[in-house]
């Protein structure tokens, strides 16, 4: 191993005005190795990446002290200190020696220029290639990131590409000049797991090939375990711990790291267990990691009782109109022939990737979306047959929790008002005193305090806001709560607390949950039964243990194998998953085939797989 790092950061501090967001940070990254910087929101990890590129100055932040030494090769005796370079000298390094990949593939390519323009631009700038030579090189680069049909791709615009393809273009662009250091800021966070797996494999292969030093910024411990050699854990702008990846996962020293790792749901941790398990919370109390509560089984599902909700042959399609006269040319087949039921006290998880129709099912049940055909029954009665008053009552019994807790609370109303609203709307309590008492009680129920009722949403953190949303959902005493990616926007430690809260509420109130998520590890922890969705159809449905321990459908297996496991000793050579996520949009008249479900074991249903010939034809 070389002893000269590619990049060496010492005592780096970055300020936004008088607010210090990175404090005295030091770390190294070596050629061919990956240093991961992990932390939750506000830890300063993204600012660190922008500081290395000296891009913080465009965000009105400044590097107040420290050095960032860049070694152009192993024998570089006089490394450049990036913090001291002029803007002009820095521009020569940016994009050439040090390149960066950003988080949001959907917005990181310029929408008005072709893919070709954007890749060749770097080559013409740094490598002084002619336009034609740059084009030839761009084709090579696109092939390097395993994009098919590279020639044609050059002439396309970003909006014509999927998220996964865009991120590969982004990687091709970053690698154009064979940089010595690659800074990757949450490069796969916005992507579906199967696409994430593809991108991670490509990055790792190319790192080996080019011998790059990689700084990998992420919040996902699973990705860290897969990718990192060295791990830097950050919190509130400071490094709390640094060690090799094996050390961190096996013997984390700092209590914060311990708490963080304890909060990460690990896929496979429930193997062999029939019921969801409520784990004790590990919280940071000052500087000591403390364990709260006990481990207990979530034996709440009353499968002998009548279902709370039954969905039968549900179909939801959206028309796409094109042209001047608005004829329907295509349809989005969001939900195709889906049937399931949920028992009282049960958590049914709907898992799938983008375009699988999981959110549409939730919205259709909540009557936010009209179905094309099929029946939804509550307490045995079909929604279609219900009177207006009955439907109104249904809105009280079924509540929704959304992904973005900030967007789902009115910023101009106190949270107390928002929580009281369903109580008023459904006339559950009368008199402001009674309502106030109930609001206070609900706030305490979700782990907030009664005096916070008078505050506004912006005064709360993300996790607290999600608690407010849960309190609001509980206000009308629902039987079913639909949680649509309700944990996805939260940091892992907060996520663990909310999972804990949801399971506690289920135990106490006998709530049924329809848990919509793309996160297989969280689903494994929380749910009694799981339905795997693909292109609007259920491909596998059964008890969680059956689906996770012996997945039968190829898509379920693909999904499970794509999830990064938060354990570096389990790192495996993954087969590269091919292909993009299929689109549910079809031409009018081209109806998808409904795949019949076959019972393989008691309560475990698997869709018949399409034969190869049919797949090619579609």
């Amino acid at each position: 191993m070389t002893t000269t790092p590619a990049l060496s950061v010492r005592s780096l501090s970055v300020n936004f005005g008088s607010n210090q967001v990175v404090k005295n940070l030091s770390f190294d990254v070596y050629p061919g190795k990956t240093t991961a910087i992990v932390g939750e929101s506000g830890s300063g990890k993204s600012v660190t990446s922008l500081a290395i590129m000296r891009l913080v100055e465009y965000m009105n932040a400044e590097i107040t002290s420290g050095t960032i030494r860049f070694y152009s090769d192993a024998n570089d005796a006089q490394p450049q200190d990036l913090t001291q370079l002029s803007d002009k000298a820095m521009r020569k390094i940016r994009g050439k020696d040090i390149a960066m990949i950003f988080q949001e593939p959907m917005t990181s390519l310029n929408p008005v220029y072709t893919i070709g323009d954007q890749i060749t631009e770097v080559l013409v700038l740094h490598e002084k290639l002619t336009k034609e030579a740059a084009r030839v090189e761009a084709v090579k680069l696109l092939k390097l990131v395993r994009l098919a049909d590279a020639e044609a791709l050059l002439k396309r615009y970003p909006h014509q590409l999927s998220g996964g393809m865009r991120q590969r273009v982004m990687i091709a662009m970053a690698l154009a000049c064979r940089p010595k250091v690659l800074v990757a800021d949450e490069p796969t966070t916005a992507l579906d797991v199967t696409i994430q797996a593809q991108i991670l494999t490509i990055m790792r292969d190319l790192q080996q090939e080019l011998g790059m030093a990689v700084i990998f910024i992420t919040h996902d411990m699973g990705v860290v375990a897969e990718m990192a050699d060295q791990v830097v854990v950050m919190r509130h702008g400071e490094k709390v711990e640094e060690a090799s990846v094996e050390e961190i996962f096996a013997r984390a020293q700092h209590p914060y790291t311990q708490a963080l790792l304890a909060a990460v749901p690990k896929l496979g941790s429930m193997q062999g267990e029939a019921l969801p398990r409520m784990d004790p919370l590990v919280v940071l109390d000052g500087n000591i990691a403390r364990t709260l509560g006990e481990s207990r089984q979530q034996d709440t599902a009353r499968i002998d009782a009548a279902s709370v909700v039954e969905v039968e042959n549900l179909v939801t399609r959206f028309d796409i109109r094109k042209g001047f006269f608005g004829g329907i040319s295509h349809r989005v087949h969001a939900v195709e022939n889906v049937s399931f039921n949920i028992f009282p006290g049960e958590t049914l998880a709907l898992v799938g990737e983008s375009g699988s129709g999981k959110s549409t099912i939730g919205r259709t049940i909540q009557q936010l979306q009209e179905s094309t055909s099929g029946t939804i029954r509550f307490g045995g009665r079909a929604v279609a047959d219900m009177s207006r008053a009955e439907k109104m009552r249904l809105r009280q019994e079924v509540q929704y929790i959304f992904q973005d807790p900030f967007a789902s609370l009115d910023p101009r109303k106190t949270v107390g008002f928002s929580i009281a609203e369903p109580i008023r709307t459904h006339g559950l309590l009368h008199g402001s005193k009674a309502i106030r008492q109930r609001v206070n009680q609900l706030l305490e129920r979700v782990g907030l305090s009664a005096d916070q009722a008078e505050r506004y949403p912006h005064e709360f953190s993300g996790g607290q806001r999600q608690r407010v949303c849960i309190a609001r959902a509980l206000a009308s005493k629902p039987k079913l709560i639909i949680a649509d990616e309700a944990l996805s926007a939260l940091d892992v430690s907060i996520q663990a607390q909310i999972i804990h809260l949801l399971m506690e509420l289920q135990q106490d109130e006998g709530l049924a949950y329809l848990f919509i998520s793309h996160d297989m590890a969280v689903v494994e922890k929380m749910s009694h039964r799981v339905a795997v969705l693909h292109l609007g159809q259920v491909v596998e449905l059964g008890e969680r243990r059956a689906v996770f321990d012996s997945p039968q459908h190829s898509y379920t297996r693909k999904l499970l194998s794509a999830v990064p496991v938060a354990d570096p000793t389990q790192r495996r050579e993954r087969v590269l998953l091919q292909g993009d996520i299929l689109s549910p949009i079809r031409k009018v008249g081209d109806e998808p085939q409904h795949l019949p479900l076959i019972q393989v074991a008691t309560g475990h249903f698997v869709a018949q797989e399409e034969s190869g010939a049919e797949r090619l034809a579609s």
Binding site: K92, R94, G95, K96, Q103, N110, Y113, V122
Partner: protein, 293 residues
Amino acid sequence: MVIAVTLIVSFAIRLTGDPAVMLAQGAGSVTEADLERIREALGLNQSFLAQYIGFLQGLVVGDFGRSFMGGTPVSDLIGRALPATLALAFASLFLSIVISIPLGIKAAVSRGRWPDQMIRIFSLIGLSFPNFWLAIMLVLVLSITFNLLPPSGMEGFSSFIMPAATMGIILTATNVRLVRTTMLDTLRSQYIMVARAKGLSNTVVLYKHALRNCSIPLITYFGLQFGGLLGGIVVVERVFNWPGLGTLAFEAVSARDYPVLQGVITVLSLMIISINLLVDIAYGLVDPRVRKE
């Protein structure tokens, strides 16, 4: 659209009074019989609807009728005035775009610091000028006091400077703010950070990557502005005695010369419609997402 505009104009203009009276003025004593003869000669004795239908029939074959004053075909009058107006309008718009884009970008980039503050103060001052006052002040200073530029008429390049500057300055005042706001939005985009991370220079980042993304809202606004510009030009043309549509319209109104005014308004509304069409075409050119698959 054209029908709606011409119908309203034809109707409104007839509310201003009888053109026969205007024509007869200065001819000494006129009898009611004289007036009646004039009306008959000009076709004013017909009903409003009949007059309007006659106008539309002419319009289809490109005939706007003849001026009440002197009998020159209206199309000839417009044909002479239109190039002058168009030249002035495009010169003003061009001037304003050329000034406001770099200034707006500068203001956005130095947001909150002194260049931004200065640009915003000047823009506020520019917004507060009435166009006729600015025009008169320019004439006063540049023509009368220093005798640098011709005060009126359209002869050569130097005569363009003042009228175009008058319109241009006022347009620039609004445009600078618009460019600044859209630029600030665009600069927050992730792809701008990506462009910087490639090592591109500030100029390339701003003028290649950011500006083209700003251009959709800007083109929309410049298109809308063209209509307002044609309105403002009437006043400015008057001050500088510019031989354009504005002056023509002004004279036609004073003389209650219906055919000329109807003709001018029709041409102006046709121009505004075609500008809107051009705007739609321009969208497709700058933004691939608007183009058809």
